[in-house]
Symmetry: C2
Subunit: 216 residues, 2 copies
């Protein structure tokens, strides 16, 4: 569940492999979004300009302005494009394994060079449009990850009334917290630890939903 484009160690992560083929419009979008990511990776949000993106993409400046409006519009489209892939959560056969694999993906994305995912998240603190698009992407990714929980319920690893979203956030939040907020050096054991903690808490009933009437 990377928070932006899928492949953390691909320098051109913004071109989803299954984007609908053909069409000048689609081709222009790919060129422009690739250029946004390349510029963002090199210069960060502060160095991102409409003109540099136009120049790098080879797309006419007027087209870039007309279609994306401003830097926030470009970032929002990069984030929206990330949801067009066919990413799915890892399937390792156990809850703990799935959560650990997910956390490894997150850690890889957040520590990738160039730091595109970091730059997109940082941008979401500054651009309203990027912020809303980043929220849509988080929602998309967490929704897809609910499969990890339903599979664990199917295997009898978790009670049927497990709150998938809370479990997923408990499992992944420490990785984001360390790398995005505390900015501690990546700890290779952290993905496993956080997964194990959430799985243990889940077995202890921490995420079991109560029927709405009995809710405190």
């Amino acid at each position: 569940m990377t928070s932006a484009e899928p492949r953390p160690d691909d320098s051109r992560p913004a071109s989803p492999p299954r984007r609908r083929p053909g069409g000048r419009t689609a081709r222009i979008r790919t060129q422009v979004l690739d250029a946004v990511l390349a510029e963002l990776g090199e210069h960060g949000y502060d160095g991102l300009t409409m003109d540099a993106v136009a120049a790098r993409s080879g797309v006419h400046r007027a087209t870039v302005y007309r279609r994306w409006g401003d830097v926030g519009g470009l970032l929002a489209d990069v984030l929206d494009a990330a949801s067009e892939d066919d990413w799915g959560p890892p399937d390792t056969g156990s809850l703990r394994g799935d959560l650990a694999a997910l956390n490894h993906e997150i850690q890889a994305a957040l520590t990738a060079h160039p730091p595109i995912v970091m730059a997109l998240i940082a941008a979401s603190f500054r651009s309203e449009k990027a912020d809303r698009a980043q929220q849509r992407l988080w929602e998309d990714r967490y929704a897809r990850c609910e499969l990890v929980v339903s599979r664990a319920i199917g295997r009898g690893e978790l009670p049927p009334r497990t709150d998938a979203r809370r479990l997923l956030i408990a499992a992944t939040a420490p990785v984001y917290h360390h790398l995005l907020l505390l900015r501690t050096p990546p700890d290779p054991r952290l993905p496993e630890h956080a997964a194990e903690t959430a799985a243990l808490a889940a077995s202890a009933g921490a995420f079991t939903e109560f029927p709405p009437a009995g809710d405190a």
Copy 2:
């Protein structure tokens, strides 16, 4: 453990009550840091300028430039000043209660108006100096919170070899994750839920340290 100045609902949170009294230097610092917070609360990082801070504080512009250098220097000093208070973690008599009270403080700080803590964290994505100071403040706050864990060990609620930092991060990370990254509306049950999850995981042994030799 608010991530910035102590009192989340105080509009002048930057003047630590126990700052060493007297002295023109100390008085100037208080005036300037108060002005930084007021400007930040009103205009955010983008609207924060040396000149506006000088004007608002009533301190000579040249003094502000000489002593703080730039906006990053001002923010870093605001963050460093936050560590000069005598904040301590809540003491409710139980691990779960302490963690929940801590999470309530964090949630209050992150949803306060004006959004000073949010603005400081956002600034840490943009200014190297603010980033380093924010890291020092996280470290200070988490170190003080270790008392919550040692008290729980003393009461026999936790095994002696509990990794305090990991437990504290598991308990608090979901609150930060929701409010700072996912930007979901504050959920009044979240502070309790996250505390309960971490306490359950702790009882299940999730944070028990192994002797170094047996470490994987």
